[in-house]
């Protein structure tokens, strides 16, 4: 079995960094949705979502990310993704989402400080 699914909200960065590891699929995506929606509801408009530890994601995960992106943009912010694994990048490419999301290969490059 792959790495266990985990969400870590890193303190002390602006914009906030949320790091996810493991597999994001139909079973785990709701936890990510709840986390992102809560952080946005708490007043954050821009979020850096670090997916460097993600080993797999499916269309359910992409749906959650697109939904969170829309919420961020509705409040004048953005959702920046951190992705380096070519297998994960490929999923964004084949769905055309590389033109929708800002994707960087590190949290710093995505604007976190």
């Amino acid at each position: 079995m792959d790495q266990e699914f985990q969400i870590e909200e890193r303190a002390g960065t602006a914009p906030p960094v949320i790091a996810v590891s493991g597999e994001i699929d139909v079973a785990t995506a709701p936890q990510l949705r709840e986390c992102l929606h809560r952080v946005i509801a708490e007043g954050e408009s821009t979020i850096v979502l670090d997916l460097l530890g993600v080993t797999f994601l499916d269309s359910t995960a992409l749906g959650v990310l697109v939904g969170a992106l829309k919420r961020c943009r509705e409040v004048g912010g953005d959702l920046h993704l951190v992705v380096a694994d070519p297998r994960i990048v490929k999923i964004f490419e084949i769905t055309g989402l590389t033109s929708v999301f800002t994707i960087a290969d590190s949290a710093q490059a995505a604007g976190a400080s």
Binding site: D25, V26, A27, F56, D58, S59, I91, I94, T95
Partner: protein
């Protein structure tokens, strides 16, 4: 040298049946990885098939309540290809999810378009059947 007991040949068929719950789709992905490796697919093709079969299962479950019924996955080695058929039996229909649900179906179909050579979906009388076929050595993209 390849151990013949570790390989699969044309016509070999593996069937997996499990409760039609989204959290168990991981089982379909795990079996797909094992079967694809034994059928001679390389690591990139294997990863493509793993993702594609997960999407096939999601498409099959779309419109069901995600709690009832049985999901049946059949993987068949077809020469230089693998054929996968996914059926949903005895499931209870549910209201199709909102915009996010429709978006996920669209994304699933985009992923399948890119990763496999052929795929399709049909339903009648509450019985849903999806299928895909992927060849070795020829990336669908």
């Amino acid at each position: 040298m390849t151990d013949p007991t570790d390989t699969l040949a044309t016509g070999d068929r593996i069937e997996l049946r499990f409760p039609a719950r989204g959290d168990l789709i991981v089982l379909a992905r795990l079996v797909t990885s094992a079967i694809s490796a034994r059928a001679g697919f390389d690591i990139e093709e294997l990863e493509d098939l793993r993702l594609a079969v997960g999407e096939l299962c999601l498409l099959t479950l779309h419109g069901s309540d995600g709690r009832s019924g049985v999901l049946c996955l059949e993987l068949t080695v077809l020469g230089d290809a693998i054929g996968v058929v996914c059926t949903l039996e005895r499931a209870t229909a549910a209201d199709v999810a909102g915009p996010e649900g429709e978006e996920i179906v669209f994304l699933s179909e985009q992923i399948l378009d890119a990763l496999v050579d052929e795929h399709g979906r049909e339903s009648h009388d509450g019985f849903v059947r999806t299928w895909l076929r992927k060849r070795r050595g020829g990336h669908a993209e």
